[in-house]
């Protein structure tokens, strides 16, 4: 039986104007989620595992050249193209806004990977191998995925669950350990920060380009952006026009209608490269 949980709707906001491409999120994710060591061969075969990666796009030519960075991770789409194609329901959408991968259901058809427009699903072509001593570092909260199955960003669900257990079920304030009255036991942004329940990439990001919270949490940093993004969707669905030149909020590949739970904020560009 599934225990009653407080409803959440998790969401991430990526501010491209803050991102410097430093790779802190990438390594933090690998450390947290037992991602196999990406060897030189993996990169040469284009099979490196990076649940979050920094893509770099050139714009222009020397001397009028720019390089722009964008962190790409599973967008946890509301209309996820990866979900309906899975023949064994190994990937599904839970009601917290997350696209979830059940590893021990996966039979490795890779249909989901083919159907993902963001290329954020990774197939285990090999059994992950760590030297014996390095295995001491593996996170006991996260499954080590075996050969033949698909894996992807989980929004560090193990951290969210730990937060839910400590705050919502046990009723403990993260820093002080004080009891929280039963009526107030809903994990909020402050508790997520203090209790270290934010996804590992968000926690590490030195410029705070990555922000994560419940989309309905008034105290969190993402609500206003999701409200705006949802308003955009609604306007479009009703045939209205969204004036994109005056908003920073957008979703990746908005036009294909996946409704991601990751929202991007546009880079501010005072000296844009003139395009041909």
């Amino acid at each position: 039986m599934v225990a009653q949980r407080v409803d959440h709707k998790w969401g991430m906001v990526v501010d491209l104007d803050r991102c410097t491409g430093c790779q802190a999120c990438v390594v933090a994710c690998q450390a947290e989620n037992n991602i196999p060591i990406n060897t030189k061969d993996y990169f040469q075969q284009r099979r490196a595992y990076e649940w979050i990666r920094i893509e770099r796009y050139w714009e222009g030519q020397f001397p009028n050249v720019k390089a722009k960075f964008i962190p790409i991770l599973c967008q946890h789409c509301e209309n996820a193209p990866c979900e309906p194609v899975c023949p064994v329901f190994a990937t599904y959408h839970n009601d917290e806004g997350m696209n979830v991968q059940i590893y021990n259901r996966c039979v490795g058809t890779r249909y989901c990977s083919v159907n993902c427009p963001y290329t954020v699903r990774f197939f285990n072509y090999w059994e992950p191998v760590w030297p014996e001593r390095l295995r001491n570092q593996l996170n006991p909260d996260v499954t080590v995925r075996s050969r033949g199955i698909m894996e992807k960003c989980s929004f560090c669900v193990q951290r969210l669950r730990r937060g839910e257990v400590n705050v919502e079920r046990r009723g403990l304030e993260p820093l002080t350990g004080e009891r929280i009255p039963t009526a107030d036991r809903k994990l909020n942004y402050r508790q997520m920060k203090e209790g270290n329940y934010l996804p590992s990439c968000v926690q590490a990001c030195p410029t705070n380009a990555l922000q994560f919270a419940d989309q309905h949490d008034e105290t969190g940093p993402v609500k206003e952006h999701f409200d705006e993004a949802n308003e955009q969707i609604e306007t479009r669905e009703h045939g209205g026009h969204v004036d994109e030149s005056h908003t920073r909020v957008y979703r990746l590949f908005e036009e294909i209608g996946t409704k991601p739970n990751v929202v991007y904020l546009k880079k501010v560009e005072p000296f844009p490269v003139e395009k041909a």
Partner: protein, 772 residues
């Protein structure tokens, strides 16, 4: 069963009750359809974790970390949210401390050389009597002619190492491949400070950076990244403006609003041309005594030699680069910089790494006086000294002049003992210094390494006494640069070494030796922890700062709990009087950059090496997470690449993945070509970090064409006035070898370019500041 009206109603009733019951049992409606009978393992949270505060030691900056420990094993490293410099944030490098801790290639126990020196052949020996006795006898016989080479040391380990060296009559020096001595000298000459300053990027409105890759590797990148994030999109402020003047398109240049490519070594001239415009147009901040700063009429005359009209062509600025007349561009830049306050000018990296590097940096930092940014919010924040009287807040780091002298001493037999800790000078110094040969051929030299990993210098050792990794050991540090006030970081062992490892703490070994050699008067402590505890008691006695404790024991516990101590009221100076005639004296010492060796001809290129984003100078080369973290701009991993501009590639008929031989007057190396649209036509760039010959497979298992050390080809030019290596002062020639490899990078086979030509099509959408 026959379907009757009665049966139908009965079943409908049971169904309704069942549905209500199911809802009541708590199964979430949305998951009923596809709820897995096998739960997502991550849903089940088991075990209790403990978090310990400590210090990151993967790079020279001082960052507070917290380490997650479960069942005696360290599981995760994160930034310490209380620590003032990094405020809970971390660099990619910090995380990889775990891989150092549990590295498969850690040296498990003491080793004694069994083959020819440099062969890397060793046999294990015991600590007692072999290891410790050998060290004691070597110190007794050779201590007075010894040199101890360490990482840059501050705090109590700095005090211990320098006292130990002086007690035995030897010398101790810190080592960095790309040392900051020129930057340090510029800070001393311009601001009269012994401690490196902080930059308040968070509150700045205009950043003008020359050569400093401060978002990637320069000085304190996590702190600067944090400030940069606020500088861009902090609440209750306007977005800041950022110009990067740099001979290489670095990760920092990529984040700038405008990158101005400049010929290497001309940054100081540009800084003075900006100063000239500010002075000539009377744009200085209120209260700035321009006459005193410039040095009267003679100073104005000297500055006039740096008018934009003269400097722009010398620095190689063209109208294509500046989008119009370069002279007007410089004048407008000076005006914006002076009017958008608070503004801050930062200089470092390649700007201080040509023979005239000291002039360049002094000229850059002097700009801060003109715009009134010294000691103010949003500008240069000066740092106070150490809270302890005798504990160094700045590490003494050797310059190329020092390493040349020491190499000569080894060669002549004057230095008879070399002790190494946290430094790999054989890999990190230019090959033409011949340190490797000097050590290999010295007959009467005893080399002891305290490294927990084999590296190129440790491979030359006679004895290796493996140190504990920092997550297993005690320590402290004084933040340099601090956040503007006194800040101490504490390092504590968060786990014990694994059972199959037998390391001994380096400071404890030094203290044991001091006692056995009868040096207790200089080093009276029985172990390093007691030395640190004495330091803690001294802080407690100050009766100020972040820890409010009733007793010294309580203070010590809280110090470890919080990961350090800081006192926001003990700030550095907020007012500094600029030296009289500062700009005149800088202008008078100006010189053009000189490039020895090949010299400047049409077939050669400026070589601008750079510190690797995660591997730095190569000391992290054994850590697989850092090898596999893509370089932000090229996305290359595991390999050494040479960045060529499109025009250079076309001229040489080179495509990506071709092996290029890069040749200076000293030597040549091979590297994989990466062709970039952002490299100037007369420049090539190669990262440091690879090319280790000894040690972990993660650092050494690639052929020389894919993993090479750019230090091998650098000219040994020194920066005038500091003796540091002028590492951006080399010219090279490029040759196609005809070989090619598959490049190991995240980017696909085709160059990833933003192809959206109309708003709405881009992957990375942009917005104009006025619409924001």
């Amino acid at each position: 069963m026959k379907l009757t009206r009665r049966n139908f109603l009965a079943w409908a009733g049971i169904g309704a009750v069942g549905a209500v019951a199911c809802e009541g049992f708590g199964i979430r409606y949305g998951e009923l359809d596809i709820q897995s009978p096998v739960r997502l393992p991550e849903d089940l949270v088991r075990g209790t974790d403990n978090w310990y505060a400590s210090l990151c030691r993967v790079c020279p900056s001082c960052e507070g970390i917290v380490v997650r420990v479960m069942e005696g094993r360290a599981k995760k490293v994160q930034g310490n949210p209380f620590f003032p410099t990094n405020q809970g944030k971390s660099h990619a490098r910090c995380e990889s401390g775990l891989q150092a801790l549990y590295h498969p290639d850690r040296i498990p126990s003491p080793l004694r050389r069994s083959g020819p020196r440099g062969s890397g052949q060793f046999l294990p020996v015991s600590w007692q009597p072999n290891g410790i006795d050998s060290l004691r006898s070597a110190l007794q016989a050779r201590g007075s002619s010894s040199v101890m080479i360490t990482e840059p040391l501050r705090g109590h380990l700095g005090l211990l190492a320098s006292r130990f060296a002086s007690a035995i009559g030897g010398e101790q020096l810190g080592f960095e491949s790309l040392d900051n001595n020129t930057y340090r000298a510029a800070v001393k000459n311009v601001f009269q400070q012994d401690n490196l300053p902080d930059f308040d990027l968070e509150n700045s409105k205009f950043i003008l950076s020359f050569g400093a890759d401060f978002l990637s590797t320069w000085i304190s990148p996590t702190r600067f990244n944090r400030g940069y994030g606020e500088f861009r999109q902090g609440e209750h402020r306007d977005r800041g403006m950022f110009y990067q003047i740099d001979s290489r398109f670095s990760m920092t240049a990529a984040s700038a609003d405008k990158w101005l490519p400049v010929r290497p070594g001309w940054e100081g001239h540009i800084a003075l041309s900006l100063a000239q415009v500010i002075v000539a147009e009377n744009l200085q901040a209120t209260g700035v005594n321009v006459d005193a700063l410039v040095g009267g009429a003679a100073g104005t005359q000297a500055l006039n030699n740096f008018r934009p009209e003269l400097v722009a062509p010398m620095a190689g600025l063209t109208s294509e680069m500046t989008g119009g007349d370069p002279v007007e561009f410089l004048k407008n830049l000076a005006r914006s910089f002076a009017k958008t306050r608070p503004a801050v000018a930062i200089g470092g990296g390649s700007a201080g790494a040509t023979d005239n590097g000291l002039f360049n940096l002094e000229a850059i930092y002097a700009l801060n006086y003109l715009v009134g940014s010294v000691g103010v919010e949003g500008g240069v924040t000066l740092n106070p000294g150490s809270p302890w009287d005798n504990v160094p807040a700045a590490g003494k780091v050797g310059s190329l002049a020092d390493w040349t002298r020491i190499t000569e001493q080894i060669r002549s037999g004057q230095t008879k003992m070399l002790m190494l800790h946290g430094a790999d000078p054989v890999h990190g110094l230019p090959e033409s210094l011949r340190l490797r040969d000097a050590i290999a051929q010295a007959e009467d030299l005893f080399v002891v390494s305290f490294s927990p990993f084999l590296d190129d210098t440790s491979a030359m050792a006679d004895l290796i006494l493996p140190d504990r990794v920092y997550l297993e050991d005690w320590g402290d540090d004084i933040s340099e640069p601090g956040p503007g006030y006194q800040t101490i970081g504490m390092q504590q062992p968060v786990v014990n070494p694994l059972a199959d490892l037998d390391p001994l703490s380096f400071p404890d070994v030094l203290l044991t030796m001091a006692q056995e050699l009868g040096k207790e008067s200089q080093l009276p402590w029985s172990n390093f922890k007691s030395m640190l505890r004495e330091g803690s008691d001294a802080l407690f006695a100050l009766n100020r700062g972040s820890i409010d404790a009733a007793s010294a024991d309580d203070f010590w516990n809280r110090l470890l709990q919080r990961g350090g101590w800081w006192d926001e009221k003990s700030t550095g100076p907020t007012k500094v009087q600029a030296p009289n005639g500062l700009l005149r004296s800088i202008a008078e010492k100006a010189s053009d950059p000189e490039f020895s060796g090949i010299g400047i001809d049409s077939d050669s290129y400026y070589l601008v090496p750079f510190s690797h984003n995660t591997l730095l100078d190569g000391y992290n080369g054994h850590l697989p997470w850092l090898q596999s973290a893509p370089d932000p701009l090229t996305t290359v991993t595991w390999q050494t690449w040479v960045e060529l501009g499109d025009s250079t590639a076309e001229k040489l008929d080179v495509k990506e993945g071709d092996i290029i031989r890069v040749e200076s007057s000293k030597d040549s190396i091979r590297a994989v070509a990466y062709i970039s649209p952002a490299v100037p036509p007369d420049v090539v760039s190669i990262p440091l970090g690879q090319g280790r010959q000894h040690g972990s497979d993660y650092a050494t298992d690639r052929p020389g064409s894919e993993s090479s050390n750019v230090m091998d080809i650098l000219e040994t030019t020194q920066v005038k006035g500091t003796g540091s290596l002028a590492w951006a002062g080399t010219r090279v020639r490029l040759f196609k070898t005809g070989e090619s490899v598959s490049i190991s990078k995240l980017e696909g086979d085709t160059r990833a370019e933003e192809i959206g030509t109309t708003p709405g099509e881009e992957i990375i959408k942009t917005i104009k500041p006025e619409n924001h």
